[in-house]
């Protein structure tokens, strides 16, 4: 919940038409309580509706209105359906916190469960089952049992779901319920059947869900068309677990289902595909035919879901999944469907690129090379890099066609630095696989536009490995020797490469290598490992260069590449049409058990109780609490590690600050005016998209600095924050969108603390890329 004070200095809420979301909420819960009480005896339903609506509006805003619980219980004795629904919503939300009082409400629910209108019966039962506290179960079970055999399907389907809810509260209450649920699968009403299937799957989760007999399968298939799309998808999903007895049965079912591939609901189409794949997974030949058959509907779904990028993304993930399981040839003809459009989101473009790289082959490569070439020059750097990587992956997978790709990549030499950087990395992999391409790579290798650290290391590796075939190799290596600002990794690579080239081109390299040894060994601040290595090689060369040369010519032949293993036939079929396709992981790699989540939740509930107890004591003496955390100054695990250790100055981490520290507006104002400005900085704003009040508040909150006031005028956002570690610190934070600047003023009683706090803020602003 937002701190209440925020609105008292500057009111930033835009005016709303409806009164429900307006105004100062402090203390209003009490007023509301009186309002509800007074209106209980009101005859006019319209007026009562308005009052109850107001309560729900408060609840929606996240304000705790649980205080009104008794009054709302009383109000539930109404015949007005609209009121009833709102009151029930309220009761189910707050019942967990008001166990004692919730019993009052139960009688109303029970009465409504016997109402003459089936709509009300079902509705009351659904809400009764949502009252999640253990005491309710005694009342629940009789109501559910009775409703399971209600004459109305709406009540029956609700009762079934009630069983599931009870199951999670107290599984033992449901002895022998399975039998009844199985019976209900032969109900007349489709929704009852579907809910029974869901319920069985949850109750019998440990035994692998509902058991499927041939009879049951035939029955469900026969009635398939009666179900709505969700029902059909559910039944098909169920069916995919079934194993037909013989081929005849399998083909019968598949023939029956084939027409469903034309359904406009993508969930059904995918569910049918899953059935087909699971049925035929042990029959490679038919499996291949199945894939060929379902290709067209898949491609259509991927292009028809125009605008619905989310569905398109899911379908593309599935296409990629199939293609990556060794069926990439199936999509080879349809490669044009995977060309990107300008207005597609980046995540769609990237997955399309991955698919293209998978399905490339000799029949489509010509066209595809041109298209991928277009993406290399895309304005979006991420797309550009990914398309270079895609080209590289194709070259490695299809050695016969690699030549054309290398030539095309080489032609990008004159373009931006980041393109060259990425190409070098891709070339390394291609050359590792097939060194004969070296002559086509020379132009890029010998250009001097490699700027990125990683690419430089890669370049040095290539120079070392293929030194004898690169005319300029020694002289490019020379440019790196003695350069102070390079990283240790780069120097390691440089040392290795220089020695490798030395063995093939000693006359040219001798002087360069000598200089390198000199630079490394005589540099006092040099990395100790690097020094050791250099000294070792130096002595070895002095002693017996030929012995060392022998050691270096190990000549391991690589016969299996990691990249090639991507395509394998082993299929994770059962997981088709589920999240594991999207994450490309097996289920047990990312899904945790029910107990795990339950523990997580229980722990949270306990924390909440503790926290609420703490805050009551904390509020009285806020400042003293600050000293508890005094000792916990640690060096954070950030990229700035080096810089910080050089300064040998303590720095602040998130743990230094007091969690949920609170002061009031008046105090803040007094402190702010009485203190001098401790530190301040102005930076260029790098990301305008997150520069709004809400995200800033959250960002600071995450680092335990709290907002006390905020306002925006003429594109200048001004916010005040505070926090406490050794002492209190106060911030004035301003984002000027006209000038694109970020300004921070920090004040504190201890001036050096203001400085540290400012650095702390600056660091996390940098991390969130707000400033550069």
């Amino acid at each position: 919940m937002r701190p209440h004070y925020a609105s008292s200095i500057a009111n930033i809420q835009p005016p709303k038409q409806q009164q429900y979301f307006e105004g100062n909420r402090k203390g209003e819960v009490n007023e509301l309580k009186i309002l509800v009480k007074n209106n209980l005896s009101e005859k006019d339903d319209k007026k009562k509706r308005e009052v109850i609506k107001k309560v729900i509006a408060y609840m929606t805003l996240g304000i705790d209105v649980s205080k009104i619980f008794p009054e709302m219980c009383m109000a539930s004795y109404t015949n007005d359906m609209v009121q009833k629904k709102m009151i029930y919503l309220y009761l189910t939300t707050y019942a967990e916190q008001n166990k004692d009082l919730a019993f009052m409400a139960i009688s109303t629910f029970q009465k409504d469960c016997k109402h003459s209108d089936p709509k009300i019966r079902g509705f009351a039962l659904r809400n009764l089952c949502s009252l999640r506290f253990s005491g309710a179960i005694e009342y629940l079970m009789p109501a559910i049992k009775e409703s399971l055999s209600d004459i109305d399907p709406y009540v029956r389907k609700t009762a079934i779901m009630g069983c599931v809810k009870v199951y999670y509260m107290q599984p033992d209450y449901l002895s022998n319920i399975e039998e009844q649920l199985y019976k209900m699968i032969s109900d007349n009403d489709p929704l009852v059947i579907i809910n029974a299937i869901h319920a069985l799957n949850e109750v019998l989760a440990q035994e692998g869900g509902m058991a499927l007999s041939k009879k049951l399968v035939d029955y469900l298939l026969g009635r398939l068309k009666e179900f709505n799309e969700w029902g059909q998808a559910t039944i098909l999903d169920e069916l995919s677990k079934y194993q037909p007895k013989d081929d005849t049965e399998m083909f019968n079912i598949m023939n029956l289902l084939e027409e469903r591939l034309k359904h406009s609901c993508s969930a059904i189409v995918l569910a049918v595909i899953k059935v087909f794949m699971n049925f035929t997974k042990n029959k490679p030949q038919i499996y291949q035919q199945v894939i060929t058959r379902v290709k067209s509907p898949l491609v259509t779904l991927a292009s028809i879901s125009e605008g619905n990028f989310e569905i398109m993304y899911t379908i593309l993930c599935h296409i990629k999944f199939i293609a990556s399981k060794g069926y990439n040839q199936v999509f080879a003809q349809d490669y044009k469907c995977f060309y990107s459009r300008v207005d597609e989101p980046t995540y769609i473009k990237l997955i399309k690129l991955e698919i293209l790289s998978l399905i490339a082959c000799d029949i489509n490569l010509g066209d595809m090379l041109n298209e991928l070439g277009e993406y290399v020059t895309d304005v979006d750097q991420e797309i550009s890099k990914k398309s270079i990587q895609a080209l590289g992956a194709i070259a490695i997978r299809l050695p016969d066609l690699a030549n054309a790709i290398v030539k095309q990549l080489s032609s990008f030499i004159t373009l931006q630095d980041y393109i060259t950087n990425e190409i070098i990395i891709v070339f390394k992999d291609i050359l590792r696989k097939d060194p004969k391409h070296i002559k086509d790579c020379l132009d890029i290798i010998q250009s001097d536009s490699v700027t990125d650290q990683n690419s430089k290391i890669t370049l040095i590796y290539i120079l070392g490995q293929f030194g004898s075939q690169i005319p300029l190799a020694p002289y490019i290596l020379q440019t790196f020797v003695g350069s102070a600002e390079e990283s240790v990794e780069l120097k390691h690579a440089l040392l290795t490469s220089c020695i490798k080239v030395f063995f093939t081109r000693a006359p040219e390299m001798q002087e360069i290598l000598g200089k390198l040894f000199y630079c490394i060994i005589n540099n006092e601040n040099e990395d100790i490992d690097l020094k050791d290595r250099a000294a070792f090689y130096y002595r070895a060369l002095q002693n017996n260069p030929n012995e060392l040369k022998k050691l270096w010519q190990y000549g391991i032949k690589i016969d299996k590449f990691l990249e090639e293993q991507n395509i394998n036939q082993e299929a994770l079929l059962f997981e088709f049409n589920s999240l594991s396709v999207i994450y490309e992981k097996n289920v047990n790699k990312f899904i945790k058990s029910f107990e795990y989540f339950n523990n997580l939740r229980n722990k949270e509930l306990q924390d909440q109780i503790q926290e609420s107890q703490q805050t009551t004591t904390e509020k009285q003496e806020p400042i003293q609490d600050g000293f508890d955390n005094e000792q916990t100054i640690t060096i954070p695990n950030t990229p700035n590690l080096l810089e910080i250790s050089n300064q040998s100055q303590p720095s602040l981490t998130i743990d230094s600050f007091v969690l949920d520290y609170r002061i009031d507006v008046e105090y803040f104002e007094n402190m702010w005016t009485s203190l001098n400005n401790g530190a301040s900085f102005t930076r260029q704003l790098a990301r305008i998209d997150i520069a709004n009040e809400n995200s800033m508040e959250q960002l600071f909150n995450r680092y335990r600095l709290y907002n006390i006031a905020a306002g925006e005028e003429d594109n200048v956002l001004q916010m005040y924050f505070y926090g406490a570690h050794k002492c209190q610190v106060f911030f004035e934070f301003e984002i000027n969108k006209n000038l694109n600047t970020v300004l921070l003023n920090t004040r504190s009683e201890l001036e050096d603390q203001a400085y540290l706090a400012q650095k702390y803020v600056q660091d996390f602003l940098k991390q969130s890329n707000l400033i550069s």
């Binding site: 709303k16 038409q17 709406y154 389907k157 034309k262 339950n598 809400n694």
Partner: protein, 433 residues
């Protein structure tokens, strides 16, 4: 198949407007975790399915200024969840026309009721608007006035368990009519030399049905496979569908066996058929742009647009968007046809021609000044494609035709079928050099 744990409706910054828990298994502050993840990326790179370190999966869609988000903890069927979320938006649209932050706030009670009725324990239940309407009687407020259709009372319970879930009984119209709109969208990408890199037709048949009773409709198309199934010689232009998808009311087995499209339609508007044709299409329009840099501060465009369809058709509201440098200023346009506007926010100029006959060509000349301080992205515009929007009535690119529509009802009334054809631009792009 697993249930959804909860649904959140959030504003675009990730603040919760309305939420509903279905299964008691989530920490109360789960939306804050989502919110943090939302801030990490911008809209374009953010994937719509995310997982956090605790193993909760967030699946969400965006609509106007809203985010509809679900959380689940199991290996869910995410396509079904997406479909459900889109359906939820559709139903909300039926209620308040414009689904946006304000209308959600105005109608929070109805939204709560819908969320309660459409999902139970996280599993989709009834999601048809017309049936839901019978359960939810709370008034809803629309942002704009829209005429409320007449309400008739009928047996709801029969509805929920009805085999034909998409149509109720007892519908009555004074005049029985049905309107078919055949809309084809042409997606085409044309290379610098005028070569077609990719072309594709996405078609749909939209139906507005105003028929009484429970009529059975039969639709005949110039479908090549149908003629072949009948053993007849295909007529001059029969269409070969790559893939065709139908509304749930169509009897799929009938189509599968006899290629006959037969159905009992829902009342009102719905999409009957959608299809895709992967055929090579000659570009309907071609555009040539000649760029001349007169000096460092002046750039001239000569744009030539040509239409390649038959002279008897006419394209309406043609708009040609030609990218220009992002720092171009002081535009001067000359053309004999239509009007030209500079749209700096799109970094393009828009040449609009109200009516563009077939086999015609028009010219346009544009001169821009460029500041002496060169913008870093000045040459970016040459990478951007030319976009064209248009509408050609009474024409389908594929040659799709409705041959007949037969309407039969027990009561034997006469009904009038109406058919309209239109071709629109889909993603119609031409690459500049």
């Amino acid at each position: 198949m697993f249930g959804i744990s909860s649904i959140y409706i959030l504003d675009q910054k990730g603040r919760v407007l309305i939420s509903r828990q279905y299964r008691n298994e989530l920490p109360a502050n789960i939306h804050e975790t989502f919110n943090k993840k939302l801030l990490e990326f911008d809209e374009y790179t953010q994937k719509p399915v995310m997982i956090d370190k605790d193993g909760y999966t967030y699946i969400f869609i965006r609509h106007n200024n809203l985010i509809f988000m679900t959380v689940c903890s199991q290996n869910a069927n995410c396509l079904m969840i997406f479909s459900f979320l889109f359906r939820l938006v559709q139903v909300l649209q039926e209620y308040f026309v414009n689904v946006e932050e304000e209308s959600i706030r105005d109608n929070f009670v109805v939204v709560y009721e819908l969320l309660d009725e459409m999902l139970d324990n996280g599993y989709p239940q009834t999601t048809e608007f017309k049936i839901l309407k019978e359960f939810i009687k709370t008034e809803s407020f629309q942002l704009k006035d829209k005429k409320q259709p007449e309400q008739t009372n009928f047996n709801v319970v029969a509805l929920v368990s009805n085999k034909i879930s998409w149509r109720r009984e007892g519908i009555k119209y004074k005049k029985n009519e049905v309107f078919l709109d055949v809309i084809e969208k042409l997606n085409i990408l044309i290379g610098q030399q005028g070569n077609v890199i990719k072309s594709e037709i996405i078609g749909q048949v939209q139906v507005k049905c105003m028929l009484s009773g429970m009529p059975e409709l039969k639709l005949g198309l110039n479908d090549k496979a149908f003629f072949e199934a009948q053993g007849r010689q295909a007529k001059s232009r029969a269409v070969e569908f790559d893939d065709i998808k139908f509304h749930q009311c169509v009897r799929l087995s009938k189509f599968e066996n006899e290629r006959v499209i037969q159905f009992i339609p829902p009342d009102g508007d719905f999409e009957l058929i959608s299809y895709r044709l992967d055929i090579r299409v000659k570009p309907l329009f071609s555009v040539d742009v000649l760029i001349e840099r007169k000096s460092t501060t002046k750039i001239e465009f000569l744009v030539k647009a040509k239409s390649n369809f038959k002279p008897k058709s006419t394209a309406n509201n043609v708009e040609i968007f030609v990218p220009v440098p992002d720092d171009a200023e002081q535009p001067q346009f000359r053309t004999a046809h239509g009007s030209v506007n500079y749209m700096p926010e799109k970094e393009a100029m828009c040449w609009s021609i109200k009516q563009f006959g077939g086999q015609r060509d028009f010219m346009m000349n544009a001169v821009f000044h460029l500041p002496t301080i060169v913008s870093p992205n000045r040459d970016k515009f040459q990478k951007m494609p030319i976009n064209i929007t248009f509408e050609i009535p009474y024409f389908t690119v594929s040659g799709f035709q409705v041959r007949y529509l037969k309407i039969q009802d027990k009561s034997g009334y006469n009904a009038l079928p109406w058919v309209r054809y239109i071709t629109q631009n889909g993603e119609y792009q031409i690459r500049m050099n």
